[in-house]
Symmetry: C2
Subunit: 212 residues, 2 copies
């Protein structure tokens, strides 16, 4: 499925990616992609048969790119604290550069997610979708080394970490009316977020000195 594309196809794909990320599936008009790419609708259909094919191609690219950018977090011989910090760092930085990616993926899911499911299954089958499994493995090793306490189900922890990262980007549009005193777009907030997710999840919030 991953074939090298001509220059022009690639250019269109970049444009289309931007539009889809901004407007989503339904919000995106083939006309707008054509306009922004400096061609017309007919050409768009000439290169990519249909809107769905175009969308699927883009989804696949975005997903794999994201997974790869996370995969760097895992380095052998690294303690789990560092791995977790790096993971949080990468995750937030990637989403900062692709702010609409979470909404984009989730919307797909909400519409039945047929395309996303197909892409995920395909990616899983192709490259084994190593990223989540790598995280789980790191987790088990850290447990054996005694760095962290035993956990019933590592997947639960992973879900919590990812949720903590993703939710902020999903909810950002409605956070301002709820907490008007906070500037959610400031780099400081994001840096604080990386730090505090780590601290809360790794160290907990309980005061162990006063309440043993």
């Amino acid at each position: 499925m991953i074939k090298s594309l001509g220059q022009k196809e690639d250019h269109i794909l970049q444009i289309a990616m931007q539009v889809f990320l901004e407007k989503g599936w339904h919000g995106t008009r083939m006309q707008e992609i054509a306009d922004r790419a400096g061609i017309n609708k007919a050409m768009l259909h000439y290169y990519f048969r249909s809107k769905e094919r175009l969308y699927t191609t883009i989804l696949e690219k975005l997903f794999i790119r994201f997974m790869n950018s996370l995969a760097d977090s895992f380095k052998p011989g690294q303690d789990f604290a560092t791995t977790l910090r790096t993971f949080l760092d990468r995750f937030h930085d990637h989403l900062l550069q692709n702010p609409n990616l979470p909404l984009f993926i989730v919307r797909e899911l909400s519409e039945g997610g047929k395309i996303v499911k197909r892409v995920v299954e395909q990616v899983v089958n192709q490259q084994g979708l190593r990223t989540p499994q790598m995280m789980i493995n790191e987790f088990k090793h850290a447990q054996k080394r005694g760095e962290i306490i035993p956990i019933e189900e590592p997947v639960q922890f992973l879900l919590t970490v990812i949720g903590a990262c993703v939710y902020f980007f999903l909810a950002k549009p409605i956070l301002n009316p709820v907490f008007p005193e906070i500037d959610f777009d400031s780099p400081q907030f994001i840096e604080q977020r990386k730090k505090l997710i780590f601290e809360h999840l790794y160290l907990g919030i309980k005061n162990r000195e006063k309440n043993p």
Copy 2:
């Protein structure tokens, strides 16, 4: 805005809510609502002027209902551990009974979220949207009492908690291909999830005995 509705209006509203939750704004057809409600499109427009009015009404109902179901978690004189546990419990139970709610809201956001934003702002202005603020207050009190350690920014913790809760329901459709060995639909998994979110966030995962 919240007025008592006739029997028929209410029935239509129930049906429309189901359809919107399933299909989202763009996916929903007025025709389908009419069909399922046993009336025709003209009547639908007769009762509710437009698709947008119908949608807004429903969104408002869903949002307020959810907030109220969470508000019960906060009881004066309760320690923060109990408050957090209750909150996690209520949150998961509500989403179990309304599995499409997270995807529904997020999809709205992903499509520009103009209506969601308006509804949130309206609800905030009307009843002050106490729920998030109550959580923040509980947090500050627990800090003063010494139950938990000082936190730079309580909102960050709240975002992490909510993210940990919501993400699971959002991602469920793609979790199976990634972790085929786990049954994400079992009640046990949800109960485990409530418990472990609490433990990880409240107590942390670091082994303090071996790594002081």
